[in-house]
């Protein structure tokens, strides 16, 4: 297992800040999500930016786990419409050039039939793709069939969210069926939130991954945008408390002081 950071932990952070945060926390990998402050997009006219980003990431001693397609944007991917079109071919070629320049796979959510068609279309176009499974992929027979050995052979990622599924049930089944095709896991609620995540099965999950010899990447990400302040502090992006700015947004959470507010009640 190689532990890393998702840009979801600091959506406004440029690449330099993400790399500095990795160095600060000894994190070995980085997951970049579309639309975040790193500014990388498959549709960029020049490939200089992804090439430069790849060089900077490598120079920082970090590996890029993948470029994650934002939820809801898979409709723009090739293959999302029934039947191949010329536009699809152009989109696929753009993605292929981008992924090559960045030197990382595309992480494509597999939430519905459109997403799955898009992931497979990108793969057919030569783009390295990891299909992202939701927390319980076995709840949907179409997804479960993608996990089974000998299905489409699509390399997989997994959003291991213990808040919405029982990781103790899903993890052993997924590790057994997906085997080495499972390459990347995002754990919402890791990092600075972990102190408040007792009982969600992350410890048992980590033990299972270790015993299974899971050699892929694990990206830490917030479970909610409400935790932005504690993540910023953990990543060294703000100097702590007392400057007056953090307290202005009362929807934000300080885990250390246990002052989570719900419905306006402290």
């Amino acid at each position: 297992m190689r532990l890393g950071l998702s840009s979801a932990a600091a959506p406004d952070a440029p690449l330099s800040e993400l790399l500095a945060a990795c160095a600060r926390r000894g994190l070995a990998t980085l997951e970049l999500e579309e639309g975040h402050g790193h500014g990388l997009e498959p549709g960029l006219r020049s490939l200089a930016a992804p090439r430069d980003a790849a060089a900077r990431i490598e120079a920082a001693g970090v590996s890029l786990a993948g470029f994650r397609v934002a939820r809801g944007s898979t409709a723009r991917l090739p293959g999302s419409a029934a039947g191949a079109t010329e536009e699809d071919a152009a989109d696929a070629a753009t993605w292929a050039r981008f992924a090559r320049a960045l030197g990382a796979p595309a992480l494509v959510p597999l939430h519905g039939p459109v997403d799955r068609r898009a992931a497979l279309a990108l793969r057919r176009a030569g783009v390295p793709v990891l299909g992202i499974l939701p927390p319980d992929p076995f709840a949907d027979p179409a997804l479960a069939s993608l996990v089974d050995p000998g299905s489409e052979g699509l390399p997989l990622a997994w959003d291991a969210d213990g808040a919405v599924t029982d990781l103790d049930v899903v993890a052993p089944r997924l590790l057994d069926r997906a085997g080495a095709r499972l390459r990347h896991i995002r754990i919402p609620g890791g990092g600075p939130e972990s102190a408040g995540r007792e009982g969600l099965g992350v410890g048992t999950l980590a033990a299972r991954l270790a015993l299974a010899g899971y050699a892929g990447t694990v990206a830490l990400a917030p479970s909610s945008a409400r935790f932005r302040v504690v993540w910023d502090a953990w990543l060294g992006r703000r100097g702590g408390w007392g400057c007056g700015s953090a307290g202005e947004d009362r929807s934000l959470v300080s885990l250390g002081a246990r002052t989570e507010r719900r419905d306006g009640v402290a």
Partner: protein, 85 residues
Amino acid sequence: MEEPKADRRTQRVLDVRVIPPREKHPAIFETFAALGPGESFVLVNDHDPKPLRYQFEAEHTGEYGWRYLESGPVVWRVELSRRAG
């Protein structure tokens, strides 16, 4: 371009930085309990796991091996093994 397919039989890494504090030691001992004689895993932590070593010494005297692979200042890596025989 894709992640290389690692040999899943040779790499066992338990990174406890991702684990809630109360679950850390149970996860470590659970992993150790599953090791066969001569097998090992690499424990990764964000501080020196000395208290854990004391606990191993108390509960698994003579059964375990402990070798530092990296000693901070940001990350500590310890190879924990189950002694053969």
